[in-house]
């Protein structure tokens, strides 16, 4: 191999398909053995972006992260929530084992501020994880975030709409989430080290009280959620 090619391959931004999993990547266990088995290093990639693509809120996309968030909240560093669509609810977070003292919510007034906030949180290295709900993503902004995550060695999670699945992205891990019977179907769209063809079905802790509803279903729907 020529010397110049060798030096190019030394670049941390370049990964090669044949060195999956073995990479000494600092990974955060997801708490779901079936998912850990699919992810390089056996967990969420620290120091990189993870994209979670969903059609709509409320299918278990946060429950998927709860085991990791709970363990991160016991370590140093903030759990930063940037521009969340709703209010992260204290009682439910506490029930998932998250230490609320570590939680920081930022509600930037504009989209540009939101991107700035996410970048600062990643770059500072003071956060265990950044969760961000950002709009108007373009490749340049995504690349900046990915670089910031590498600099600060912080796990960045972006929640995006499923239609972004077709776009190119510098994120190290891209997962498409879909509801499944009693759980969540996770399609790995991109990971470091080769594609995965089959989705993995994770069973999620079910929401709400165990009691069955005695009432018959009313005719309802959501205006917007």
């Amino acid at each position: 191999m020529s010397a110049s090619l060798e030096s190019v391959l030394q670049h941390p931004g370049i990964w090669r398909g044949n060195q999956r999993a073995q990479t000494a990547e600092d990974a955060l266990p997801t708490g779901f053995a079936a998912l850990d088995a699919l992810l390089p290093g056996g967990g969420w990639p620290r120091g990189a972006l993870t994209e979670l693509l969903i059609e709509r809120q409320g299918i278990g996309e946060l429950r998927l992260l709860m085991p990791t968030l709970a363990s991160l909240s016991r370590a140093d560093g903030w759990l930063a929530w940037v521009a969340p669509p709703y209010v992260p609810y204290a009682a439910a977070l506490a029930a998932a084992g998250i230490d609320l003292k570590r939680l920081v919510v930022a509600k930037p007034p504009s989209e540009a501020d939101a991107w700035w906030t996410a970048e600062q949180a990643l770059r500072s290295g003071a956060c265990g994880v950044l969760l961000a709900w950002l709009r108007a993503a373009d490749e340049r902004r995504m690349r900046r975030l990915q670089l910031a995550a590498e600099t600060g060695h912080t796990w960045g999670v972006l929640f995006r709409h499923a239609r972004a699945a077709q776009d190119r992205s510098p994120a190290a891990l891209r997962l498409l989430l879909e509801p499944a019977a009693n759980g969540l179907a996770v399609h790995v769209l991109k990971r470091r080290g080769g594609p995965v063809s089959q989705p993995v079905i994770l069973s999620m802790p079910q929401a709400g009280v165990a009691r069955r509803a005695r009432r018959t279903a009313p005719v309802l729907s959501l205006v917007q959620a």
Partner: protein, 468 residues
């Protein structure tokens, strides 16, 4: 005893010039009799041919754009007091030597600062940071150190014998004696302190007064000295007049940086920190612009203050040029001295606070908050945003959704399937915000799980949360 003396040789000039990085040609003049003389000039003025002792009118003729300021003794007193406050970071025993000197007793605090060399280095860089120039000397007696500093002999003497030989070579003009006494000494051929000491004591005392003998004895450390120590003020407020009005944030930051070491000294002497700082920027014929700085935790770290000051000033729009800045610490909070970190562990806590402070500057204080749970059964009141994380354990409830909608949304036509419930919540009749609701978990056609309730008064359905 070991004394450290500072002689601020250009104090009368620096009170005007230290607020800017590259000041214009500047002279300080003083009226003596009917004429006005130059008593100090900066390098820029000297380059134009101005020198000390010149008539003010002559200096003005030499240099173009020369700024002439009348000597301001009250500003010098204030500056000296500010310096004394700063020196409080080294030792609590600080004594003023007006108009342009400070004397610090440092024998008791040497080990705290890891030796004399380190202390002197810190002192030197601190003085420069504040925009002053000083001659520093150490000696076993305070007056001895002061004479050395005035003679510009920058030495650290610890043995009294060596001090004696050094002092012997100094001219008598340095002594704090009336001009008549100095002239008289020179007339009898005693030009240096050494020659003065060789004269018979009784004769000198009779001819020139006991005060001269006393001063020489004090300088050599032969008699104990009594010095009044400086009492630091109870609150911190320091003004700095800028040499010329400025509007650029960079120039303001430069000036504000001059004041931060004083604040740091003030806080470390009082074992305190600040959580809020105010920088008032005074304009001509206009209300001052107040720039506020907030810290997550009380701090006295000048570097951190400077960092936040830079970001805050960068985001502040000033309506007019600023002629004076005033730094104020409205509330001083106790803060124990920092203990050294044995293993140099990564201080994640400090980094985290800095991040929050930076976010708050750009996004606003309320846009960045933590979350805590509150003791209330009504879901919308069972949480609240908080600025400071307290240590109360949160009330966990696994039947709650991870997302709560800020406002319940009414449901309209379509289909939701109720999965489980009801959970009845009735509360708040006593404060006017009463609720009577039956909560259910529902699933919509896309498989999303929602927290819905039926209002038992109106019978209408609302969505209140999302099980994300």
């Amino acid at each position: 005893m070991l004394w450290l003396a500072f002689h601020f040789r250009a104090l009368s000039l620096e009170v005007f010039s230290r607020g800017a990085a590259a000041p214009a040609p500047l002279v300080v003049v003083e009226k003596q009799g009917s004429r006005t003389w130059v008593i100090a000039c900066n390098d820029a003025a000297e380059a134009c041919g101005v020198h000390v002792g010149m008539a003010a009118s002559a200096a003005q003729a030499l240099a173009d754009g020369l700024v002439v300021r009348r000597r301001d003794p009250s500003a010098e007193r204030e500056s000296l007091a500010g310096l004394a406050v700063w020196a409080g970071r080294f030792t609590p025993s600080v004594s003023l030597a007006p108009p342009d000197g400070l004397l610090l007793e440092i024998s008791t605090c040497l080990s705290l600062h890891r030796g004399l060399g380190k202390l002197l280095k810190q002192a030197r860089s601190g003085v420069t940071e504040m925009g002053y120039a000083a001659t520093m000397a150490c000696a076993p007696s305070s007056h001895g150190a002061w004479l050395l500093a005035k003679a510009e002999i920058e030495k650290a003497i610890r043995e009294p014998a060596r001090l004696g030989s050094l002092l012997a070579a100094l001219p008598v003009a340095l002594l704090d004696q009336p001009p008549a006494v100095v002239e008289g000494l020179e007339r009898v051929g005693a030009r240096t302190l050494g020659e003065c000491l060789r004269l018979p004591r009784a004769g000198v005392a009779r001819r020139f007064g006991q005060a001269l003998i006393d001063e020489l004895d004090r300088a050599l450390g032969r008699v104990p000295e009594t010095r009044a120590f400086f009492e630091p003020p109870a609150s911190f407020e320091r003004a700095l007049e800028l040499p010329a009005p400025v509007q650029a944030a960079e120039a303001l930051l430069f000036a504000a940086r001059r004041l931060l070491p004083e604040l740091e000294g003030f806080l470390s002497l009082r074992q305190a920190g600040v959580q809020e700082l105010e920088l008032a920027c005074r304009h001509e014929r206009r209300d001052p612009t107040i720039v506020k700085l907030g810290f997550v935790k009380p701090t006295r770290d000048a570097g951190r203050m400077q960092l936040l000051l830079r970001e805050t000033l960068g985001r502040t729009r000033l309506p007019a040029p600023v002629h004076t800045i005033v730094l104020r610490a409205p509330l001083v909070l106790p803060l124990s001295a920092s203990s050294g970190d044995l293993f140099q562990a990564r201080n994640g806590e400090a980094d985290g606070d800095l991040l929050l402070e930076r976010l708050r500057i750009r996004l606003g204080k309320d846009a960045v908050h933590g979350i805590e749970s509150a003791a209330d059964h009504r879901p919308e009141r069972a949480w609240r945003p908080c600025q400071e994380q307290n240590h109360a354990a949160a009330a966990a409830n696994r039947h709650r959704p991870l997302w709560l909608l800020p406002q319940p949304l009414p449901c309209h036509d379509g289909r939701l399937q109720l999965k489980s419930g009801p959970e009845r919540i009735e509360s708040g009749w006593w404060d006017g915000g009463d609720v009577a609701r039956d909560y259910y978990v529902a699933e919509d056609r896309n498989g999303a799980q929602l927290w819905v309730y039926c209002d038992r008064v109106s019978g209408e359905w609302f969505v209140h949360g999302v099980f994300a």
